[in-house]
C-alpha cells in the first residue's frame, strides 16, 4: 500500500506525519519512506539510516553537431519549451529548459542533433532492518523536478502488502502530481488557519482530479470544532486525526526527534491512522463493486 502525504500549504507537518507514521508502522514490518520533496528534502534529518548508494539522475537533452546542421530550424519550430532558439540561422540549446521529449532529434533531417545525458539531481538509497529510505535531491539551479521524483519512485516496493510512505512537496503543481500519481491513499495535512483552509481546498480539488481516496489530518489544533472540521463535514472528506498544538512536540521536532518516541499520546494517535485508511479503502472497494 502506498500512502502519500501532501498538503497545499507548506509547513503544516508533512514530514512530521511521514516520519512518525513510519516509526509506528516499522514495529510490524519494514517500511519504505520516499522523500519526493526533492527541492528541499528533510526526512533525513529525522531518520538515521545507513546509506547504501547515491545515483545520479539525468535527463536527455539535445546536442548539436554544428558542421552537420543545415540551419533548417525544424528543431526550433518543434520545441514547445523554448529550449532551442535561432541564433544566426543555427539552433542554440538551453538544456535547463528541455523537457526531454526528443521531438527535435526526431525532426532533424540531417541527424545533427543527438541525445545526451544532462545531470539534474541525485537519488540516495538508505536501508537498515527498519526502513528502506529513498531521498531525491534536485541540483541547485535546475528548474524541473519531476524526473528526479520519478527516479525516487522507481524504488517503491513490488510487494503490494509492503507499506510505502511518500513525503510529497507542498503546493498543487507538477512536482506534487508526479509525487501523488500511483498512490493508494493520500493524507492531506493542514492547520486550522484561514491559510491552511484555503490551500487545503486547492489540494482537495487536485486529489479529486487524480481520483485517489483521501483523508485529512489537522495539525496544531487548539480547539474542536474548527474551520477545518467544518470544511471536512461540508465536503464529506474523512477527517482522520487531530494533532494538538504542543510546545514539547515543537521542541522535539526542532531537535530532529521523532514525537512518538517521546510522547505516548502522540503514539496512540499515529497508531490509529493506518486502520482508518484500511477501512476507507475497503469502503471504496465495496462501493466500486456495487
Amino acid at each position: 500500500m502506498i500512502i502519500a502525504v501532501a498538503s497545499g500549504k507548506g509547513g503544516t507537518g508533512k514530514t512530521t506525519l511521514t516520519v512518525n507514521l513510519a516509526r509506528v508502522l516499522m514495529e510490524k514490518a519494514k517500511i519504505y519512506v520516499l522523500d519526493c520533496d526533492v527541492e528541499e528534502p528533510n526526512v533525513h534529518l529525522f531518520l538515521q539510516v545507513q546509506k547504501i548508494e547515491d545515483k545520479i539522475v539525468n535527463k536527455s537533452v539535445p546536442e548539436l553537431e554544428p558542421e552537420i546542421c543545415s540551419g533548417c530550424l525544424e528543431c526550433v519550430k518543434m520545441c514547445q519549451f523554448n529550449a532551442l532558439v535561432e541564433v544566426k540561422a543555427k539552433p542554440m540549446v538551453f538544456s535547463e529548459l528541455c523537457h526531454s521529449c526528443g521531438g527535435c532529434v526526431e525532426v532533424c533531417p540531417n541527424k545533427a542533433l543527438t541525445e545526451k545525458d544532462f545531470p539534474i539531481g541525485k537519488v540516495s538509497i538508505y536501508e537498515d532492518e527498519r526502513y528502506v529510505f529513498v531521498e531525491g535531491r534536485l541540483d541547485v539551479g535546475q528548474p524541473m523536478s519531476p524526473p528526479v521524483i520519478k527516479a525516487v519512485k522507481k524504488h517503491l516496493p513490488n510487494d503490494p502488502k509492503a507499506i510505502a510512505i511518500i513525503d510529497a512537496p507542498p503546493g498543487t503543481s507538477c512536482p506534487v502530481i508526479a509525487s501523488l500519481h500511483g498512490a493508494d491513499f493520500i493524507l492531506l495535512v493542514t492547520e486550522p488557519t484561514p491559510f491552511g483552509l484555503h490551500d487545503l481546498d486547492l489540494a482537495v480539488k487536485t486529489v479529486k482530479e487524480l481520483k485517489i481516496p483521501m483523508g485529512v489530518v489537522v495539525n496544531r489544533v487548539q480547539a474542536i470544532p474548527n474551520l477545518i472540521t467544518k470544511y471536512c463535514t461540508q465536503n464529506q472528506i474523512p477527517l482522520l486525526l487531530h494533532l494538538p498544538l504542543d510546545q514539547e512536540a515543537a521542541r522535539l521536532y526542532s531537535q530532529g526527534k521523532i514525537l512518538v518516541d517521546h510522547l505516548p499520546e502522540f503514539k496512540e494517535k499515529f497508531q490509529t491512522i493506518v486502520p482508518k485508511i484500511q477501512k476507507i479503502l475497503q469502503e471504496v472497494q465495496h462501493a466500486n463493486q456495487n
Binding site: 535561432e86 544566426k88 542554440m92 538551453f94 528548474p143
Partner: protein, 120 residues
C-alpha cells in the same frame, strides 16, 4: 543602425517597458532613416518558461544592432551576445527618452546580465 526598445505601446511617446522577456511590444527604430516599426511580443507575455530567450530570438529576426533595456537576464543576454547584438542599460519613462539617452551616450553597455533568471 537598428535599435530595439521594449514598449507598452505603439508610438515613441509610449511608456518604456522595464521588462525585456515579457515586454508587450518592441519599437524597432532605424537611426539612419529615423523611421520605426512595432513588433508584438504578446506570445511571450504568457510563456511558461523561456520568455527572455524567445524574445531575444524575435528581436534578432529584425536584424537589430542594439537593444535598449532596463533589465536583461542571463539567457536573453547569452542569445543576444552570441548574435553580436549590443545591449545597453537605460532607465526611461518613454521610448523616446530611452532613445535620446542612447543618442546622447547616457546609456551603459552591459557586458553581462544585470538581473538573475526568474523562472517558476
Amino acid at each position: 543602425m537598428k535599435i530595439a526598445i521594449p514598449s507598452k505601446g505603439n508610438t515613441l511617446d509610449a511608456p518604456f517597458d522595464n521588462r525585456f522577456g515579457r515586454a508587450e511590444n518592441f519599437i524597432i527604430y532605424d537611426l539612419e532613416s529615423n523611421e520605426f516599426k512595432v513588433i508584438s511580443n504578446e506570445q511571450n507575455l504568457t510563456a511558461m518558461q523561456g520568455a527572455g530567450i524567445q524574445t531575444a530570438q524575435n528581436v534578432l529576426r529584425e536584424k537589430v544592432d542594439v537593444v535598449l533595456t532596463a533589465n536583461c537576464g542571463p539567457k536573453a543576454f547569452q542569445v543576444l551576445n552570441q548574435a553580436g547584438v549590443k545591449i545597453y542599460n537605460v532607465e526611461a519613462d518613454t521610448v523616446k527618452e530611452a532613445l535620446d539617452k542612447f543618442k546622447q551616450d547616457q546609456a551603459k553597455e552591459l557586458d553581462q546580465a544585470n538581473v538573475e533568471g526568474h523562472w517558476a
